[in-house]
Amino acid sequence: MNERTLMSRLYDDFIYQNRYLYLVKGLGNTVVITVFALLIGVLIGVFIALVRVNYQQSKKKGLLLRLANLACGLYLTVIRGTPMVVQLMIMYFVIWASGAPIMIAILSFGLNSGAYVAEVIRSGIQSVDRGQTEAGRSLGLSAGRTMRVIILPQAFKNVAPAIFNEFIVLLKETSVAGYVGIQDLTKGGDIIRSITYDAFPPLIAVAIVYLVIVICLTQVLHVIEGRLAKSDLR
């Protein structure tokens, strides 16, 4: 192996039999899982945040609200208290053994992300001045409408950078999808390694792809933050 030139190794790892496609397709899966998982995460996150904020603020706590709050608390504890890989494997081997792997991954990462996004959104809701709710209510809007048209839009704006950051975190976290047989970017590199018995170039390539994407996304994040800061000064 040592005598082989770097060029011939790169050729074997990536060009021969179009092996680079393992990385391209893997990246595709990684992006699909990340995007849809984040979507699910945001939906779950909004729901949990609403339940928890509602529970905190309402004076008369109905049975339904108390049960929902309890369920959300349990969910947050379990999700945050166990490793992502374990959750993924439980979903794959125990809960939904018949599902398509990519669906299982999307759901698992979504459920996981939801627990973290929930806290982000909750802090966003709480960062909106109480006077906003009072103004909405004093105009005769119901609590629900006030939340929807006045509080949530401002909350989302406040936490947009944090949610975008969650996207970046999630992108890297999905690298464990290979545990349940999904060919994501990381797994793609690993497959090349197992074919060519050459670990260095494919794994470094995988690392570089992640790094470049994360650097680009971080730049985008800075732009978003800048825009938001400017719009606050309007």
Binding site: G131, E134, R145, K157, R234
Partner: protein, 245 residues
Amino acid sequence: MISVKNLYKTFHNLSGPVEVLKGINCEIRKGEKVVIVGPSGSGKSTFLRCMNLLEEPTSGEIYFEGKLINAPDVDIDKVRAQMGMVFQHFNLFPHLTVRRNITLAPVLLKLQSKEEADENAMRLLKRIGLDDKSESYPNQLSGGQKQRIAIIRSLAMNPKMMLFDEPTSALDPEMVGEVLSVMKELAAEGMTMAVVTHEMNFAKEVANRVLFIDDGQILEENEPDAFFSNPQHPRTKDFLSKILS
């Protein structure tokens, strides 16, 4: 218009219960302008906010147009839609344009069509000379402009009465006048108003009645001339001598 009977309010703080309102009785008739004054922390805001149930009374009754409104079966949103409220810190919605701030509630509550609401908003904006700001965002406006828009945002609902909680206290001095003059116009048009303020000249000029609240109770109430020239209660004298000096 509104009548408050035996109003008590206790807040429960970390340090224990604090009784803020201790038996308030007050009636405001249609078209009346009542100014509420008193030292800081005496319960003026709490009293005002109890009138539209932004604070829930601990006990007592609030009647709006003869109907008990702090009862379980009352749709409080319907009541609030008829009672405008203007806050010390304006509380405009920063993510919406001025026009949308004004039209949001009337349209959502189906009181006006979108076109009617837009037209109404422009008419109100013209009236305060800010029709060129309809597409601006609140953060692009001065404090005085924000507060005048907050007032017409309430007006756009065609309320039967308006509550003002220190509407000029957060303003730079040079902007107080423009807000007060909008309020004076409203008063002249016959709006029923309850105003918490430290602007004693406004009280003298506009009020039919001045209430002095101290330590959660109405210690004295009178028409403005008598209230200012001849206060009865020693606490009122003390308060006035401090604030007028």
